[in-house]
Symmetry: C2
Subunit: 110 residues, 2 copies
DNA sequence: TTTATTTGTTATACTTTATATAATAAATAT
DNA sequence: ATATTTATTATATAAAGTATAACAAATAAA
């Protein structure tokens, strides 16, 4: 039986991996976390989360080829598995459903 | 400075407190968690979360009056503070924004 | 009027997530 | 060679999530 839910940072990371498409790896995810989610985390936190997600089967990773930039180690690129997509959607559906039942907190009421 | 984000269960509990209005307390929240969010947690987990949320200033609680039902101890009723509402909305806004950028995972694509 | 039952909260211990700092690795440029 | 850049790994600690058991207070009922 699969674990039913994911942590808050895990959810954001899954979302950003989808958004980053072919370029989702530790540092790019960290940058998006900052820019897209206004979330400041250290790179260690990101990799910890990625490892957890992989060991749960929600993402997979493989090493990218040589880079075009200055120098640096090869990237470990991440993509969502089918199971990762499912868990993401489920977590969204639950919340969308709850929000839809709370008009008094809706987006243009505060 | 206020803590910037809340955990996944904390978010659900905040949402349900809003939904339950005048009747949000440990056991009713637990029941809603099960029914509305398909989330099975023990009552200890719920109270732990509530205490955490209160100590962060996202909810406040006070004892309810005598109950109309069979027997039982008085309820500790919870409501959101202004700060609780803010943090809830913020967390929603971030995710709504991210989802809107991922048409390929949209609700009717899987 | 005390004892059983019901409804509810608290206490405690443990696991999993989240976090930061420091160490290490591998690539290019000089 | 060695310095610089880009990147991942290791390690330690704090915070969030979880389960079980103990406790408390109300009513019913003997």
């Amino acid at each position: 039986m699969e674990k039913k839910h994911i942590g808050e940072l895990e959810e954001l990371v899954l979302l950003l991996i989808v958004m980053l498409k072919e370029d989702a790896y530790g540092l790019s995810i960290r940058k998006s976390l900052q820019e897209q989610a206004n979330r400041t985390v250290t790179i260690g936190a990101v990799h910890g989360t990625l490892n957890r997600l992989e060991s749960k089967g929600f993402v997979e990773s493989n090493l990218g080829g040589a880079t075009e930039s200055r120098g640096g180690r090869r990237k470990r690129l991440f993509t969502l598995t089918a199971s990762g997509k499912k868990v993401l959607q489920k977590s969204r559906d639950v919340k969308v459903n709850l929000w839809s039942q709370i008009p008094e907190l809706s987006i243009n009421k505060i």
